[in-house]
């Protein structure tokens, strides 16, 4: 998993040029430019309805902008089927937890490995040879993630029984299982108490360091954002009003207005 740093030979993982996105009449994004540099932690902030989630969906490729281009590793990205996004190396977590409620924490994370597995129906039915081996070998990988996220104790518990914070952690684990180059976190700390947030921050930073994963996150908690992110982009009513290091952004007048305006 460490090897990833070498894989990322592009300084810019993603380059988004004056993207426009609108639903019917409603303009969600207006002429937004955004670069995602390899290995950084980029936070996208902004008041409610600023178009943060839309931006995330543009990045992940679920939404195709009406105007503008999205470059992934230097090439212009065409329309892709949702299930191929992950194969491109982009993983994500969801704002309101989207775990597989019927399964244990372990299985949730294992499912994340599915795209890395070979499908052979008959061998799987007999649980033989390659199929069996791949199960075991991927289980090893998953255990690494479990150790990394410190959730050994809840391996076998059905996720629906887990507390909120842990569910978020499992979901992160599932995303990590994909070994992504780009990890999108949609409000990873929403509704967490202080120490849960601290844990989560730690994990985000560790992921970034240990696996060299590039991370884009949406977050409301300014404190968190300013602490962990290398770069912050601020959206307001679909327009990018600021982009820079936390300190630069903090001092940006537009940003202050936007936030004061918002509440």
């Amino acid at each position: 998993m460490k090897k990833q740093n070498e894989k990322n030979k592009y300084s810019q993982l993603m380059d988004i040029k004056n993207v426009n996105l609108s639903f019917g009449g409603l303009k969600a994004l207006i002429d937004v430019d955004l670069q995602i540099n390899t290995g950084e932690i980029l936070a996208i902030i902004g008041p409610n309805g600023a178009g943060k989630s839309s931006m995330l969906n543009v990045i992940s490729g679920i939404y195709i902008p009406q105007k503008g281009i999205v470059k992934w590793k230097g090439q212009i990205r065409k329309k892709i089927a949702p299930h191929n996004i992950a194969r491109m190396g982009i993983a994500r977590t969801f704002q309101n937890i989207a775990l597989f409620r019927g399964m244990s924490a372990l299985d949730n994370i294992l499912t994340g490995r599915n795209i890395l597995m070979k499908r052979n129906m008959f061998l799987e039915m007999l649980y033989l040879g390659p199929s069996k081996n791949q199960e075991i070998e991927h289980r090893k990988k998953v255990e690494e993630i479990i150790d990394f996220l410190e959730i050994q104790s809840i391996r076998k518990t059905p996720v629906s029984r887990l507390p909120y914070g842990l569910q978020k952690r499992v979901e992160l684990g599932r995303a990590l299982a994909l070994e992504p180059e780009l990890l999108l976190l949609d409000e990873p700390m929403a509704g967490m108490n202080v120490e849960e947030k601290e844990d989560m921050c730690r994990f985000v930073l560790d992921v970034n360091e240990q696996f060299g994963t590039t991370i884009v996150l949406i977050e409301h908690d300014m404190g968190v954002v300013m602490d962990i992110s290398d770069r912050v982009a601020v959206l307001d009513y679909g327009i990018k009003i600021a982009d820079g290091t936390p300190d630069e952004v903090r001092s940006e007048q537009k940003v202050i207005d936007a936030y004061l305006g918002a509440g």
Partner: protein
């Protein structure tokens, strides 16, 4: 004390990934198989084998099939009986047209045809969800029933539209009495159950459950919804088709399209829900419930008919009791008998020191 995993440390992931990680469960399974394969054949009479156990197993297989689709992959189907019909008639026709074909091949052929049909009628599932999807399968149900009643070719032009299964030969060994019929069905069903169980705990199974639980997230981690759903339809219909072939060949020996009517489809759906969605044992428990209870009630009925109560009254009371039982079980344990069994085990695990 008897049922404890304490002290059984899994030293390898291999052992932890085993089909039955807990020692006692393995023992129980072995005992159950022994019971099914040895004890029952020794003690059960032809009545029990022929008219209770064999139908029970055949329908369990159908329920297992539906459970793959509905329980694991979360796609509701009301066409299981139709897929059974396809299996039965396909197997029959193959043997009629090409008599040399051994019946096991015919069974597989039946299953495969059923799988193909299932995939076709599964296509709408890519766009339609939930109860709305049930309609697609209902369409299959009525259309296929109509097809087989209506076009004599399928019944090989038998005047009455009833097909009679040709005798079964396995390596020149005739399968004609309840006992070896029982062995045949039991082996097939056990094999399928084993296959489904493995499938459920490996990559495909997880893909199914992911689609069932949260299809958006499943897509986000790279699971192809279309392929997965269609695969589920295929496997499920295959098992249903196989069950249909068994029903025609082994259970009744003769079958008419009406034997696979909408009522049967519902019956199978009820089995898995009462037994437990998304569990192999659930299919068996549910089938047991749906098949044995009415017969049991009828036996009880026929015994107390002698008393003042009229046969007709009894017949209606049977209906009511049956319905009441379903509701009762749902209230006691909404997740089905299988879950009830699990809870029992958890209790047992703590026993005798619950705290």
């Amino acid at each position: 004390m008897i049922y404890r995993e304490a002290g059984q440390f899994k030293t390898t992931y291999k052992s932890d990934q085993a089909i039955l990680p807990i020692f006692q469960d393995r023992i129980a399974m072995v005992l159950m198989l022994l019971f099914a394969f040895i004890i029952i054949p020794i003690f059960a009479n032809d009545y029990w084998l022929g008219s209770i156990l064999i139908p029970f197993l055949a329908l369990s297989l159908a329920a297992l099939g539906l459970n793959v689709l509905t329980g694991y992959a979360g796609q509701i189907s009301l066409g299981s009986a139709a897929f059974m019909a396809v299996g039965a008639f396909a197997a029959f026709n193959l043997q009629v047209r090409v008599p040399e074909v051994p019946f096991l091949i015919a069974f597989l052929w039946g299953g495969s045809c059923s799988a193909a049909v299932g995939i076709i009628f599964g296509l709408p599932s890519l766009r339609i969800k939930g109860f709305y999807l049930a309609v697609a399968t209902l369409a299959a149900q009525f259309f296929i029933e109509w097809l087989f009643t209506h076009f004599d070719w399928f019944t090989n032009y038998s005047t009455s539209g009833v097909i009679t299964a040709p005798p079964m030969q396995l390596f020149g060994f005739a399968i004609d009495n309840p006992l070896n019929k029982y062995f045949l069905v039991l082996s097939i069903v056990a094999l399928c159950a084993f296959g489904v169980r493995n499938l459920a705990r490996s990559e495909i199974g997880r893909a199914f459950m992911a689609v069932r639980d949260m299809d958006i997230a499943a897509e986000a981690i790279g699971i192809n919804l279309m392929k997965t759903k269609l695969l589920a339809f295929g496997i499920s219909s295959f098992l249903c088709g196989l069950a249909g072939a068994l029903w025609a060949y082994v259970v009744l020996g003769t079958v008419e399209p009406q034997a696979f009517d909408i009522a049967r489809s519902f019956e199978i759906l009820f089995m898995i829900v009462i037994g437990g969605l998304g569990s192999v044992s659930g299919a068996f428990l549910g089938a047991g419930f749906m098949i044995l209870l009415p017969i049991l009630l009828n036996n009880i009925g026929s015994v107390i008919t002698g008393a003042a109560i009229s046969t007709e009254t009894i017949a209606h009371i049977e209906y009511m009791v049956f319905g009441a039982f379903i509701i009762f079980f749902l209230i006691v344990e909404p997740n089905g008998l299988a879950r009830l069994w699990q809870l029992g085990k958890e209790k047992l695990r703590l026993w005798p020191f619950p705290y």
